[in-house]
């Protein structure tokens, strides 16, 4: 069993690394994550928040690669620290949604009947509301702050996970080995955790990766309209919001935060696609 598991993951890796775009994305994303983790080692945290009016709105130079913003802060430094904020928030939100939605989906699929019906109808209603609108509703009720943003994103994304997990479990629910486990008197909780969850890991991993990308875009969007992460915390969306005010004359400020979002999201999406093809080669094309 152990050996089979290893050779299977080996085969998945073999298929994944054949997809060069996904492989390159993995390397780039690794670099972004490292930069975010060691941001305070790489760049003096002072640069991010200290304002200096004598350095306002400087065009890119050897000293300030991406120039400086309205308050004389180094844009590159803020981008790197912004990665930290974006990744932390989106990782927390996606994993939160995964736990909430995944459990709901698993419970629905496992118990079936009325439980399934009630949970899935409620999820349908959640899904009928565009996730961005749902997130705005939560922020509107709770107020704009980083914690509330995470809550809003969890509420908006959990139904997606519920659906993915449920549809991944449904086909294996009635398979013999699960029935065998039930016949042996194994508890529900144990069956879900030991027998079913390992089998739905594939779709969950793919969904998590793809949701990370969507989540980063939504965080930036909400922060851009002032409903997400509040200044002076360096965040890509709110940086763009600030840059927008001066874009007539200082358009160079608009480029870096957007590129940062785009590259990060692109990497997540390519890795997600690559994983999907690697995990289920039948689905390709």
């Amino acid at each position: 069993m152990e050996k089979k598991g290893r050779s299977q993951s080996g085969a998945i890796w073999f298929r994944f690394q054949k997809n060069k775009l996904a492989l390159i994305s993995l390397v780039i994303l690794g670099a972004i994550v490292l930069a975010a983790l060691f941001a305070n080692v790489l760049i003096d945290p002072e640069l991010v928040t200290t304002t200096n009016s004598s350095l306002r709105l400087q065009t890119p130079s050897a000293e300030h690669w991406f120039g400086t913003d309205l308050y004389g802060r180094d844009v590159l430094a803020r981008i790197v620290y912004g990665a930290r904020v974006s990744l932390t928030v989106s990782v927390t939100a996606v994993f939160g949604a995964l736990i909430v939605g995944g459990l709901l989906g698993a419970v629905a699929a496992y118990f079936g009947g009325h439980v399934e019906n009630i949970i899935m109808r409620i999820m349908d209603i959640f899904m009928a509301i565009p996730s961005l609108v749902m997130a705005i509703a939560v922020v509107a009720a709770l107020g704009a702050s980083t914690v509330n943003l995470v809550v809003a994103l969890i509420v908006a994304r959990a139904p997606q996970f519920a659906r993915v997990v449920r549809s991944a479990i449904l086909p294996i629910r009635d398979l013999e080995y699960v029935e065998a486990a039930t016949a042996c008197g194994t508890s529900h909780r144990r069956i879900i955790l030991r027998h079913i969850l390992p089998n739905v890991l594939g779709p969950i991993i793919v969904q998590t990766t793809l949701q990370m990308g969507h989540c980063i875009i939504q965080i930036a969007g909400l922060s851009f309209v002032g409903l997400g992460i509040q200044p002076p915390t360096p965040e890509w969306g709110s940086m763009l919001s600030e840059a927008r005010e001066y874009m007539r004359r200082y358009s160079f400020l608009v480029v870096p935060p957007g590129l940062a979002i785009m590259i990060t999201v692109f990497c997540f999406n390519r890795i997600g696609d690559g994983l999907r093809d690697a995990l289920d080669p039948k689905l390709k094309n």
Binding site: L132, I136, A137, V138, A144, G213, R248, V254, G258
Partner: protein, 321 residues
């Protein structure tokens, strides 16, 4: 057919109620006391309590919700805290902007995305296919509002082809619509390509070729007709999502639509406006999905015959009788 539509409409009611209750519930979680907000910080506790009673805020959530819905059916969505205007009037004033934006975006995505998807599928692995795949990958990775800002810098501020902000003429809508369509456009390319690739490999395509039909005719008359059905559904389903996406894009281009309205109302803690506007977006999205679903049933003969009796059958039945 009429029966079927009616059935679908009836099925829509619980969805609408669900959406509105969900939003009503979420909004009721806000920590501030609406009565206190209306009366201001310096009002006495007795006055606040009296207003709470008058507004029905002491009733249970379900009762409050039921009252809200009955009023809403009569067209009363409450009064804005901020302007004192009926919320319904403000929403109807602003919705056309958002609607035009979303329609424009869907049109762009459909009109450009479908042909590109078809070419990609027919010329699979050609440079044009690779290019369109890369473009769609990039478009789906871009935050829409940033894409909008870049378009604005290039086409409004530098080239001066289009105005940068506002919504007073057709030209004002060009950049916002392109911006809003970016995700849907990419989605259309990918969906069309993959359904076309699937259809091209079907047996009936081989039959059509065996008839001596030329490649163009096979694509246009046979594959496309089959491939378009799912594509159109996807496009329709996108409409609701675009209404949501408009919230951010409107503020990029300062369009006075429902999106900017919601954002402002949230910032000003104007709960009745936020509740009503978000409900409105959710419900419209649901209704459009329904319409697309019904249309789909009508276009696809396999589904149609399940609900509508084709003329030929009824005629031969008459002859038999």
């Amino acid at each position: 057919m009429f029966k079927y539509i009616l059935k679908r409409l009836v099925m829509l009611i619980p969805i609408i109620l669900g959406i509105s209750f969900l939003i009503f519930f979420v909004m009721s979680l806000s920590p501030g006391d609406p009565a206190r907000i209306i009366l201001g910080e310096y009002a006495t506790q007795e006055d606040v309590e009296a207003l709470r009673e008058e507004m029905g805020l002491n009733d249970s959530l379900i009762v409050q919700y039921a009252r809200y819905i009955f009023k809403a059916i009569r067209g009363d969505l409450g009064t804005s805290y901020q302007t004192g205007q009926p919320v319904i009037r403000e929403i109807l004033e602003r919705f056309p902007f958002t609607f035009k934006l979303a329609i424009g975006a869907v049109m762009i995505a459909v009109v450009l995305g479908i042909p590109i998807g078809i070419i990609s599928a027919v010329k699979q692995y050609s440079w044009i296919d690779n290019l369109s795949m890369v473009v769609s990958m990039i478009l789906t990775s871009m935050p829409g509002f940033w894409y909008g800002l870049m378009l604005m810098i290039i086409f409004a501020l530098n080239l001066r082809w289009f105005p940068s902000t506002g919504a007073s003429s057709f030209k004002h809508y060009v950049l916002p619509c392109i911006t809003l369509s970016c995700n849907t456009f990419a989605l259309m390319i990918r969906t069309t390509r993959s359904t076309m690739l699937e259809e091209i490999r079907q047996d009936y395509v081989r039959t059509a070729k065996a008839k001596g039909a030329r490649a163009m005719r096979v694509i246009a008359k046979h594959s496309l007709r089959n491939a378009l059905l799912p594509v159109i559904t996807v496009a329709g389903m996108q409409f609701g999502i675009l209404l949501g996406g408009a919230v951010v894009i409107e503020s990029v281009f300062s369009i006075p639509g429902l999106g900017t309205y919601v954002v402002n109302a949230v910032k000003l803690k104007d709960t009745p406006s936020v509740t009503a506007a978000i409900m409105f977006i959710g419900v419209i999205g649901g209704v459009v999905n329904l319409i697309v679903d019904v249309l789909y049933t009508y276009i696809d003969p396999r589904l149609k015959s399940r609900y509508v009796k084709p003329k030929a059958v009824s005629r031969s039945e008459k002859e038999a009788a």
